[in-house]
């Protein structure tokens, strides 16, 4: 049973790490630019589609992943230039409406280009599996996802806390007009932050491709969870997003794995399964409600905003 628990723990961390990659960009854009970008999930989907297509084209998953990064960045910058740039000064309702329109448009565009059937994704070559518990092969690739997520987290922290660019981002978050008055091109800064966030989401999608199905609208479910993550973590906080993502990933995975068994201690088998499954899907939102009840600004909210 300890083997099973270890595997479930790793699964939880892995889901958390993928959520972090999406949530990091979302929280940066939201925190720094006060801009609600519902289309962030679409950028995750684009990353997955680009990596899968390029992986098929080049014959190598890793090459596809590598090539997908600049393309995701370019897609993010293009969207920023065409649509989002014109919305920064509008209220949140306009932003929500416009970015929701982008979701609809890009979901259909992806379907028209690649078709509605799930895309075959080349499996990452050169990685085997390890045995963590008897009878179960654990793909090393899943450990790579965890490693990549932790690496990105560290890199982001260094960028935000230790570089000049990071300093400007932090300054822009607390008082954008002042930064602008001091002679910093705040628009350019916003564009860079936006492109970077889009690239992170694309990276998350590209990493998720071999594990999850690459289908139209795959970004929608992730987007909702990513919003939960940034709300729990505190909007604008990278550190909060990181911890909240791991928390959400673990609660979701362990809840699904353990809750039906726990309920069986007090209920019959059949209702325990049904109630357990239903409750497990709610757990993440219950967690969010619980945390907000005690810390309305999220775990790390208000520290810097």
């Amino acid at each position: 049973m300890s083997g099973l628990f270890l595997v479930q723990l790793l699964n939880g961390v892995q889901l958390g790490v993928l959520l972090f990659l999406v949530a990091a960009g979302l929280t940066l854009v939201f925190g720094v630019m006060h801009f609600i970008n519902l289309a962030h999930g679409v950028q995750y989907m684009l990353g997955a589609y680009l990596a899968a297509s390029l992986g098929i084209w080049t014959g190598s998953f890793w090459l596809g992943l590598l090539l997908a990064l600049p393309l995701s960045l370019a897609a993010g910058l293009l969207l920023e230039f065409l649509v989002f740039r014109h919305l920064y000064d509008r209220d949140h309702l306009s932003q929500v409406l416009a970015t929701f329109g982008v979701i609809l448009f890009l979901d259909e565009a992806v379907r028209a280009l690649w078709g509605s059937a799930p895309l075959p994704v080349p499996q990452p070559e050169g990685l085997g599996s390890i045995v963590l518990m008897p009878g179960l092969l654990y793909p090393v690739y899943r450990l790579v996802i965890i490693g990549a997520g932790l690496g990105v987290g560290l890199l982001l922290w260094l960028l935000v806390e230790r570089t000049r660019m990071g300093m400007l981002v932090r300054a822009g978050a607390s008082n954008a007009p002042m930064v602008s008055a001091l002679g910093v091109d705040i628009r350019r800064l916003f564009t860079i932050v936006f492109g970077f966030g889009a690239m992170l989401a694309g990276f998350g999608g590209a990493l998720a491709g071999p594990v999850f199905a690459v289908v139209p609208r795959m970004g929608d479910t992730v987007l909702i969870l990513a919003f939960v993550v940034i709300v729990i973590g505190g909007i604008g906080s990278i550190r909060g997003a990181f911890l909240a993502a791991l928390l959400v990933g673990l609660v979701d995975t362990l809840g699904k794995a353990m809750l039906p068994d726990l309920l069986r201690l007090v209920l019959d088998a059949a209702p325990a399964r049904q109630a357990g499954a239903a409750l497990a899907s709610m757990l993440v939102y219950l967690l969010m409600a619980g945390i907000l009840a005690f810390r309305p600004a999220g775990l790390f909210g208000g520290v810097r905003a």
């Binding site: 479930q8 075959p120 794995a257 499954a277």
Partner: protein, 392 residues
């Protein structure tokens, strides 16, 4: 057209009687095809549509001698959209038949308006229990199956293979629960665990680890669409493929292009597979692939059969659709060469047919398809047929 027919029939009964066959020969048969053609489930709707169009093409664009006009409608997997479009087809376009329908909830949305206008409804995929028993309707036919039957087929397979301990994994909604009941109706061994996952589940790693820990003799699952793609891939990656993978609507021609090697050797239950012998079946597969560049699944074959069915009925009525009892009687005969071979309707207008165990194979041309392993149920009638009494 309606006004002319009414005039002819009411004012000049003699002349009308003479004129009508000629009119029936020239005017096109109007058919509304309804399917889910956008969104994640569109590959199923595409299969239905392309199967229907292949059938019409093989009949040289004529049903019972009359030219066909097909209105292709996308329900977008939204009941209100399905209803609006079907209403327009019935009232404005005055269609003679409604065919297609991927999902049971779309069928539920359009069922009453179509049958109440006495238009013949032929579903080529959806076959809910709602309309198989007491709720059956003389104007509805299906060339597919009743939804319980494929699941029951898999239960029978598990029973015959002598599996003692089976693990069940389904999505947490009505069709998932129906799948479990269908499977259990014929499997009498121990169910070591039943796991219900949310319909938008992304990652199956928790369930896969659980299966590895329980080591069942086989698993039974119903995971349509993208769910099935994830599950199959992760099941294979986890090295569990030595545990037999019994499934329904999880590995088929709609999902195999994405699953590919990961699904090799996995099992499914079907009424037809592309490797069915017989020239008609082979010709269908050949022409379908040439036209649409993907492998037809049983979805497409069922739609193809619907075209042949309507053709046979219209031939029997001399092309006329106005005499409803005659049209229904002609449809009930099911006097057409089905791709499945033998085909007959039960009293509830659901087919009485054979069900096959199929397995995923890689064809010599590199494409993935299902192939028949053996016949599991012969001349199977759905469990609700006995309750059906047509009113009027």
């Amino acid at each position: 057209m309606l006004r002319r027919t009414v005039l002819g029939a009411a004012a000049l009964p003699l002349l009308g009687g003479l004129a009508r066959p000629a009119l029936a020969q020239n005017a096109p048969v109007k058919v509304a095809f309804l399917g889910t053609l956008s969104g994640p489930a569109a590959s199923l709707g595409n299969q239905l549509r392309d199967g229907w169009l292949t059938g019409v093409k093989h009949l040289e664009g004529r049903l019972g001698g009359r030219p066909v006009e097909t209105l292709v409608l996308d329900d977008e997997l939204k009941p209100d959209v399905a209803l609006t479009k079907i209403r327009a087809a019935l009232e404005r376009d005055k269609v003679d038949f409604v065919v297609g329908v991927v999902f049971s909830n779309m069928l539920q949305a359009i069922f009453r308006p179509v049958t109440e206008s006495e238009t013949v409804l032929i579903t080529t995929n959806a076959g809910p229990s709602t309309y198989a028993g007491r709720g059956c309707n003389p104007f509805m036919f299906t060339t597919a199956y009743q939804n319980d039957q494929p699941h029951a087929t898999m239960g029978q397979v598990a029973q015959e293979e002598g599996y003692k301990r089976v693990f069940i994994l389904v999505p947490n909604y009505q069709a998932g629960k129906d799948a479990v009941n269908g499977f259990k109706s014929r499997f009498k061994g121990e169910v070591v665990d039943e796991v219900y996952v949310p319909l938008n589940q992304l990652d199956f790693s928790a369930e896969v680890a659980r299966i590895a820990a329980l080591k069942p003799d086989a698993i039974f699952t119903f995971m349509p669409g993208g769910l099935g793609v994830n599950l199959v891939r992760q099941y294979r990656q986890a090295g569990l493929a030595n545990i037999p993978f019994l499934s329904t609507f999880t590995v088929d021609e709609a999902t195999l292009p994405a699953q590919q090697d990961a699904a090799l050797g996995f099992f499914t239950a079907a009424t037809w597979a592309p490797d069915f012998p017989g020239e008609a079946s082979q010709r269908f597969v050949r022409d379908f692939e040439a036209a649409y560049n993907y492998v037809p699944g049983n979805y497409a074959a069922q739609s193809y059969d619907a075209a042949l069915l309507i053709d046979s009925a219209l031939k029997a009525t001399g092309g006329r659709t106005s005499d409803k009892p005659a049209l229904r009687a002609a449809l009930e005969k099911a006097d057409f060469p089905s791709l499945r071979g033998r085909f007959a309707f039960g009293r509830n207008h659901y087919p009485v047919q054979d069900f096959w165990l199929c397995k995923v194979v890689k064809r010599p041309d590199g494409k993935f398809a299902t192939a028949t392993v053996r016949k599991v149920l012969e001349n199977d009638t759905d469990p609700y047929a006995g309750e059906c009494r047509f009113r009027g």
